[in-house]
């Protein structure tokens, strides 16, 4: 493949060279088990402590003992949710949202089968949570509320601090878990200020490698381990520490903090340029999230009367990587549960494309996409059986 333009950073990200550099010694000469009792293991042990401190700072936690290293975002979510419910079995009610990531949503589907009652809060057409629903749902029996920091498909931010206040005012015993995977590295996260009890993150979403995640559990929240075994992670997650990757996620968190300002200004500027360039030049396109507050790197755009997989295949031929909420790309036969919860019209839901940038995205890349995309969309539109509808849409756009 010639040049490649990677605009799928909500799926995974490139490992930052500086992250890899920090990891390498622990993949080579510094291979000691950090639990061992000789000098050789001192460096590994110290490296983990440092990484834990970096994650603590990254998330605004009060104490580094509140950070547990895991293997991925899914493990963080499973450990938090199932661990907390296993520790306190007295309450049987859970509240979450219709737009959670499958790694969270399917845990609740599983818990429903185990006898839990789960309520799912909906969203409006821009993808913003119906917070009012939450108010009425919290009872004395509510064990857990679970809301993602930002949605992976739309990038829409949820008002975490506000939700926390509602929960604590209704039932102070209810625990609050936040899937922070799509927020970390894109917007500032402060678990103390936001009033979060547990928050999970995944390294590969912010330029660490795949296979490493972290979970914040505040000192007032007790969890049982999901993986039972040795004493590692203070008994909350057994298994010999993955030293090189823990070092990697620590460094990636430090770099993400350093780059947060850039992310929120420059990455945002490029995202906005891309969005504007598409909407202005392609008549059958729409921003699926309206004016909802979003992370700075993501835009979800629906192309009406055409199908997303076909768009991605043609983009791929141009070296452009993006992703789609279309049924055809998911392996399942249904379009994205997030876009359906938003009631994105069926004319646009199958042709919705998510573009997600990173700090490595350049202006030239965005210009290239803006230049090439209209022809791709036009070619695909020509094949569509909905020519009359498309014509009407075009006339409507021109008249505006």
């Amino acid at each position: 493949m010639g040049k490649m333009i990677y605009l799928d950073n909500n799926a995974t990200t490139k490992v930052d060279e500086r992250v890899l550099e920090e990891m390498l010694p622990y993949l080579k000469e510094e291979y000691a088990n950090p639990s061992s009792m000789y000098d050789f293991s001192r460096k590994s042990s110290k490296a983990i402590k440092e990484a834990r401190g970096k994650i603590k700072d990254f998330l605004g936690a009060a104490n580094e003992k509140e950070i547990i290293f895991t293997s991925c975002g899914s493990e963080s979510a499973n450990t938090a949710i199932r661990g907390a419910l296993a520790h306190d079995k007295s309450k049987k009610h859970i509240i979450t949202t219709k737009i959670e990531h499958p790694c969270v949503l399917n845990v609740y589907r599983y818990l429903e089968k185990q006898g839990y009652k789960v309520d799912y809060i909906g969203v409006n057409s821009n993808g913003e949570l119906n917070i009012d629903e939450l108010n009425n749902l919290i009872t004395n029996d509510t064990a857990l509320v679970s809301v993602m920091w930002a949605n992976n498909e739309t990038g829409v931010l949820n008002p975490i601090a506000e939700i926390s206040q509602i929960i604590k005012s209704k039932n102070p015993e209810t625990k609050f878990f936040v899937d922070g995977v799509q927020g970390a590295g894109k917007v500032p996260i402060n678990v103390v200020e936001a009033g979060v009890d547990m928050l999970g993150i995944s390294g590969h979403k912010f330029h660490a490698p795949k296979g490493i995640g972290a979970l914040y559990v505040n000192s007032k929240t007790m969890i049982n381990p999901l993986i039972i075994g040795g004493h590692q992670e203070r008994g909350k997650r057994a298994g010999t520490e993955n030293v090189p990757y823990i070092v990697g996620i620590g460094k990636a968190a430090e770099l993400a903090s350093d780059n947060l300002q850039y992310e929120m200004t420059e990455v945002k500027r490029l995202r906005d340029k891309l969005e504007k360039g598409i909407i202005q030049n392609i008549y059958n396109s729409r921003v699926n999230t309206g004016l909802a507050p979003r992370v700075p790197n993501t835009t979800n755009i629906g192309f009406e009367y055409i199908e997303g997989e076909l768009i991605l295949l043609h983009l791929s031929d141009l070296g452009i990587c993006a992703s789609s909420g279309s049924a055809c790309t998911s392996g399942s036969l249904e379009p994205s549960h997030v876009l359906r919860a938003m009631n994105v019209p069926f004319t646009a839901i199958h042709g919705s494309i998510r573009w997600s940038l990173s700090r490595f995205t350049t202006e030239a890349e965005i210009d290239y996409v803006i230049e090439k995309l209209p022809k791709v969309i036009e070619e695909i539109t020509t094949i569509s059986p909905y020519q009359a509808e498309l014509k009407a849409l075009k006339e409507l756009k021109v008249s505006k």
């Binding site: 997303g308 076909l310 043609h314 036969l333 249904e334 069926f346 004319t347 059986p385």
Partner: protein, 280 residues
Amino acid sequence: MWDYSEKVMDHYRHPRNVGTIEDADAVGTAGSLVCGDQLKIYLKIKDNIVTDAKFQTFGCGSAVASSSILTEMIIGKTIDEVRKITNKDIADELDGLPPEKMHCSVMGYEALEDALKEYKSEGYIPLEEINNEPKEKMICTCFQVTDKVIIDAIKANGLKTVEDVTNYTKAGGACGRCKDAIQKVIDNYYSGVTEQEKISDLTPTQRILKINNIIENQISPELIKDGGDIELVDIKDNDVYVKLRGQCSGCKNSTMTLKLFVESTLKDAFGDEINVIEVK
């Protein structure tokens, strides 16, 4: 990333015969906007030969490729030849499709079938008038898939499991509530019948074929195990006349065999109207 063949990629990159035919002799559609893929096919037919074909598709790469290659496959063919094309032929022509994408080839087949259903001219008798097919029953309401579509897919592709059926027809791919119903269609297909066909709904020929099929494949093998056998003699309305052979004939349990095994097996397939009578 799907493992698409070179041919699939060539056809979605450069689709052939895109467009409409203004004065088409037959037009067929399959799928819908809601389901995420729709195909429309236009045919020009002269002297029972497809002289031109065009298509429009809303769908993924394999849907476009299936539509595109289908138009190439049918141009120049007679109506009889075109009617023999199955979804498997479309997929084979594309050097295969990923299992999860087989429903795209089924959509091509459905659109073609739809077009030919509409088409009537001298010398060509529409399918339904030959077969007098029983009414279709909706199995998957999410994707609007009928038992006929499922059975056609099972027949053409040798599908065995609910998952296969979902991959080929989409049925059961959304809410999943129809999975039991799909299993039943599969079971019934392999036991030789479509679900609870009323014997009176069948044409005389179909009636004989289907009942004989069950006798030969399900009943006879069991009787042979006990040293006996059975033979179909005649069918009048709901009465099925059979002759017991070998050790069954003259066996004092023959009435039991007849009522408890032969008749109940046929009743499972065709309902309680069936009556089995022994001919000595």
